[in-house]
């Protein structure tokens, strides 16, 4: 875990970019998942958005 955090902080640009993608891409897919009523996909995609948030916290 410590190694992962260190790697994220050393590569903060890539980590920030990944976090932004995790927060920005899933909402588009969420829309289609919601229209299909695919609850499993919605949970998974919302999880990715929250993962993006947590990633930012580790990077900063």
């Amino acid at each position: 875990m410590r190694k992962l955090v260190k790697w994220l902080q050393e590569n903060s640009f890539e980590a920030n970019l990944l976090a932004l993608l995790l927060m920005a891409v899933p909402p588009v897919l969420l829309y289609f998942a919601a229209r299909q009523g695919a609850l499993g996909w919605i949970y998974a995609l919302l999880g990715l958005v929250i993962l993006g948030n947590i990633l930012v916290l580790f990077v900063r």
Binding site: L20, L39, Y43
Partner: protein
């Protein structure tokens, strides 16, 4: 009562983290967003599908905002790399060396002009670096254009916020424009005095008060005349142009300490100003020439959101998201201006080798953090709106206020602007609610809505999203809490003023009816 307090948690959390613990906007917005999600699900009965739609809606709203911010930074980098900002900074002391007049002309008049034609963070993004270049402290460089352009927000951005108010309430400009323009006109005079106070304290404010009052009356008065008699969507734009014209004359009366500033590079100044002139011309062409507006308005991005309901019964009617017209969006206009300005500066030989790479790298570095925090702030606001938390907050405030509702109405508008970062969004979220509450309590709807939009416009500068923009352009990224704390004092004063005006307005219209 419990729901009211629960709905307040995300906002309180952001305020405490940013103002109290001095967290940066990104970390504070993560906390606010996650808190909003939890409260929406656990206390307001928001289902997982509702959250899915909320995120898409937030995504599009964020894009609407970020397009402008990205392009504004790009425009700034294009002009800065060409040396335009420093040329302006060197040229201004030739007009006046008086620090207070510099603040009035650039931080008030020019910032209001940019608000009139652009808006959404552009005034502070463009003006703050110029003021820093002139030697203003970074904090003042952010606060001055933020407070200075507040009066021009409602009728600025070519009237988008006022249009939103009319759309959500179904009332016409004839009914709404007069009280709103009066409130904002009074605010214009006060913002000028506040700009002087920020720059030079009480002594400077008293010294230059006559100039500020003259300019405020000109800008606010012309805005009022245009809003009520002419094309209301250009009211702030025309008002600030008139103010700028008068301020050049006033600068002769306040030239400041005589000193040798070197010779003026007239050719360099003309070339530097060309970039800003291109921005103005393109904005006017795209917004005011119907043929161009129609031609560019064809590519629109929007999504249809079905009717959504929480398990507590709060219903959001089916509606399309706000259309984003990609080619005549304010961000697109800034992009066109950036490209043209680059070409002009390039032809004039203002760039050194590798300029494109420096412009792009500089832009990406500056927009990285603001992009993340804006995405999260808007997501938080949309989750709160769709789950009914925002309405719970507004209703609670109105109930608590009772007969003092006129005093509270501007603060509700301000709350919406703080959360969404936009006068327009605040009017969309709270306009109809304020109208209904005013009708129930028997108050003048036009006066209450004037308080709503004036409060929202003046407080929109306090929105974390705009604070992030200002802090990053003036080199104070990570110190957003300090900036917000300072802004809070001046914005609070302006909101108290609008509250009093709303109360007096309601009282006068009540007397009229009797």
């Amino acid at each position: 009562m419990i729901n009211f307090l629960l709905a307040l948690i995300p906002i309180l959390l952001i305020l405490v983290l940013m103002l109290g613990l001095r967290w940066g906007a990104v970390k504070a917005s993560i906390a606010g967003y996650l808190a909003a999600l939890l409260v929406a699900v656990l206390a307001f009965g928001s289902g997982i599908e509702l959250l899915a739609y909320a995120h898409l809606k937030a995504q599009l709203a964020t894009l609407d905002v970020l397009l402008i911010i990205w392009a504004a930074f790009l425009f700034y980098r294009v002009t800065d790399e060409a040396g335009a900002v420093s040329v302006l900074g060197e040229a201004l002391p030739h007009l006046t060396a008086d620090r207070g007049m510099q603040a009035l002309i650039i931080g008030w008049g020019f910032a209001s002009f940019l608000q009139g034609v652009g808006g959404f963070g552009v005034p502070v993004a463009v003006v703050a670096p110029i003021l820093v270049g002139l030697g203003f402290p970074a904090m003042s460089a952010i606060i001055i254009p933020s407070i200075g352009s507040g009066w021009a927000v409602t009728f600025g951005s070519l009237g988008s916020s006022f249009q939103a108010l009319m759309s959500t309430t179904g009332l016409s400009s004839t009914e709404l424009a007069l009280p709103a323009a009066i409130f904002l006109g009074v605010a214009a005079v006060i913002t000028g005095l506040l700009v002087l106070h920020i720059t030079e304290g009480w002594r400077g404010m008293l010294r230059l008060a006559p100039a500020a009052i003259v300019l405020g009356v000109v800008m606010g008065g012309i805005q009022l005349v245009v809003a009520t008699q002419g094309p209301w969507n250009t009211a702030a734009f025309i008002g600030s142009i008139a103010g700028l014209a008068v301020s050049f004359g006033l600068a002769r009366l306040y030239r400041g300490p005589e000193k040798h500033n070197g010779s003026l590079d007239a050719r360099g100044l003309v070339i530097a100003l060309t970039g800003y002139a291109i921005l103005v011309i393109i904005t006017l062409l795209v917004q005011m020439v119907p043929a161009i507006k129609g031609l560019l308005g064809g590519v629109v991005m929007k999504a249809q959101i079905p009717q959504l309901a929480t398990s507590l019964g709060y219903v959001t009617e089916a509606a399309s998201t706000k259309p984003i017209s990609l080619l005549n969006h304010a961000g697109a206009v800034l992009l066109y201006a950036s490209i043209l300005a680059y070409l002009v500066y390039w032809v004039a030989g203002r760039y050194k080798k590798g300029s494109v790479q420096r412009i792009v790298t500089g832009t990406v570095k500056r927009v990285k953090s603001p992009s993340i925090s804006i995405l999260l702030m808007v997501s938080m606001a949309v989750v709160m709106e769709i789950s009914g938390m925002t309405e719970t907050l507004a209703e609670g405030l109105a109930q608590v206020a009772g007969i003092l509702f006129p005093l509270i109405a501007p603060w509700i508008g301000a709350l919406g602007a703080f959360m969404t970062g936009s006068n327009t969004n605040s009017n969309v979220v709270f306009g109809a609610l304020q109208m209904r509450t005013a009708q129930l309590l028997g108050y003048s709807v036009a006066i209450i809505l004037a308080g709503q939009t004036a409060g929202a416009g003046l407080a929109s500068v306090l929105a974390p999203t705009k604070v992030v923009v200002g802090a990053s352009t003036a080199g104070m990224a990570g110190k957003e809490g300090d900036v917000m704390r300072k802004l809070l004092i001046y914005t609070g004063l302006l909101l108290v003023l609008i509250s009093i005006l709303t109360l007096v307005g309601v009282w006068l219209t009540s007397v009229e009816r009797i």
